[in-house]
């Protein structure tokens, strides 16, 4: 028996890697993405300061401009905010929260959307109608409004301190719940095609239980477009979180995401301390842009009709 080549070897030879080499913008965005993800994940290790440890903060160092500007200090490369926190470090930690919220929210949407899409496509009939009409209704509200709504409920039912502690999860829930419809629609359409494919029919003739057919034949063949949608959805989710935080409905200032950092810095923009909001803003733009470019490339690379 010949062994199939190792996973690494196969990955390097794969069509996808070859396609990546053909697209410099995608390579660049992938690199930027990797660097930003590493900075975010390893923030406690590589951030030059520990901005959320009040003991290390020095009010004397507050509102310092970036290092290359008159009055700046080499200790604080991108300057400090009004509490003397190092802007570069807060960006690392902020990206960490933005990415965590974005990824978790998209995962939540994927789980809800794929499950409902599979159910709708597999059973059809009134189950399908119910789920898809529910999706239509939800789509007629903007994402941000649904997020507002969930946020409002959470504030109403929880005491303030509990609310602070659960902020992170409420934001994930708000964004995740708002975005499932696109996944459900895609998976439903693919399910309706896959369940009538000849290989599914062959499985039925072999008396494989329906639920096994659903999970082993149908589900894996519907996931391709889901991966693409999820990548593109990540950019949207990060932005939505930033908007919520900017409006004061997202992450609290004690646990700031990029959006919350921009909000805090925004108040100081007119007094001349532009760096406090500008750099988190740039980081946000760079992050979302690279996610989107990479997602676009992935969509084209995986779309058989464009090959």
């Amino acid at each position: 028996m010949s062994r199939s080549p190792s996973f690494l070897r196969r990955s390097l030879d794969s069509d996808l890697v070859w396609r990546l080499r053909q697209a410099p913008a995608a390579v660049l965005s992938a690199c930027v993405l990797v660097v930003m993800v590493v900075c975010a994940v390893a923030a406690p290790l590589i951030a030059p300061h520990t901005p959320f440890d009040p003991g290390t903060l020095n009010l004397m160092d507050s509102r310092l401009p970036p290092a290359w500007v008159q009055g700046g200090s080499a200790t604080y490369l991108l300057g400090t905010d009004e509490q003397g926190r190092d802007v570069l470090s807060t960006i690392f930690y902020g990206m960490r929260i933005s990415l965590a919220v974005g990824v978790a929210a998209v995962l939540l949407s994927v789980v809800i959307g794929v499950t409902l899409g599979l159910i709708a496509g597999w059973f059809g009939g009134w189950v399908d109608t119910l789920i898809m009409r529910l999706g239509d209704v939800q789509l007629s509200f903007p994402t941000i409004m649904i997020a507002f709504f969930i946020d409002g409920i959470a504030k109403a039912v929880m005491p303030p301190d509990l609310n602070q502690a659960t902020r992170f999860y409420v934001v994930i829930l708000a964004i995740g719940v708002a975005d499932w419809v696109q996944f459900a629609r895609t998976v439903r359409a693919a399910t309706m095609i896959e369940k009538n494919r000849d290989y599914a029919a062959a499985a039925r003739l072999s008396r494989v239980p329906g639920i096994r057919i659903l999970f082993t034949h149908v589900l894996p063949n519907t996931l391709g477009p889901v991966i693409i949608l999820a990548t593109l959805g990540l950019g949207v989710a990060i932005l939505t979180e930033a908007i919520l935080s900017f409006l004061g409905l997202g992450m609290p200032p004690t646990q700031p995401s990029l959006g919350a950092l921009i909000r805090v810095g925004n108040d100081l923009l007119l007094s001349g301390e532009w760096w406090i909001s500008m750099f988190p803003g740039l980081a946000l733009v760079l992050l979302v842009l690279s996610v989107n470019i990479f997602g676009d490339w992935l969509r084209d690379a995986l779309n058989p009709r464009l090959k």
């Binding site: 028996m1 494919r197 290989y199 062959a202 499985a203 039925r204 072999s206 063949n221």
Partner: protein, 315 residues
Amino acid sequence: MAVPLVTVRDLGRSFDVSDPLVQRLITRAPRRSVRAVDGVSFEVQTGTTFAIVGESGCGKSTVTRLVAGLDTPSEGEVVLAARLGVRPRLQMVFQDPVGSLNPRWRVGRSIAEPMPAAMDAAARRARVAQLLETVGLATTDAVKFPHEFSGGQRQRIAIARALAAEADLLLLDEPTSALDVSVQAQVLNLLKDLQDSFGLTYLFISHNLAVVRFMADRLAIMYLGRIVEEGPAETLFDAPAHPYTRKLLETVPDVDNPRRERDAPAFDVPSPLNLPPGCSFCPRCPLVTDLCRRERPVLRDRANGTRVACHAVTG
């Protein structure tokens, strides 16, 4: 006579091919449906091969899917005789070799799918290897994915999967159409051998009359969803009665006399969307009469054991 394994009675299947509702309201077009299968009846005896022949679109695949239970008939019924109280097991080789294998499964896994759940992994692997060899592929092919095979190879993998189940009834929808002559002969001989040793029953669809002649015990000729002639294969090949059967057999290349004058096959097949009131073969029939245009002939028994649906045939 023994109870037939498959009994098909007055089978009918219509497909709704109307435009979407909104478009129909705008253009005021009526609902339209295709009668893919219409009043088809036949029986398949255990251990025999029943072949269905007919040109593209006449409803052969639809009949097969109905027999398999993958589609529900609009009219009529399919009865599978239970043996010792057990439903007969059936397997199918699909016409399209591309869609018949899960693209994300190694083909070994696909072939092993119909095997009994009690079978352990080693036994499965051994059986898969054996089946791959049987259909003329390498045992190492089990770890490959479907896209690494050609259409003909995939068809052979589908045949291996159908054989893996040790089913009583095999529905073979053009199982050898994508194979070259030598592999085709190998697969057909294999099917014959299996039938002789295990008493398998085949419902066999093919365009290729030479193949049908080799395989079939009984033969049905379909034209636009209906059976026009049916009977023991030998009798039909020796003495075709229906003008359509005769036309079909004529279009088989004549080995002894290749330059014999033959009618060019006519291609003005009436659409199954709007069938004429009389015999649907009228526009192409050399023996057509007024009666044929008015009244549809029914399938009737003949003295030689065949059934035919034609006004012009006597006896």
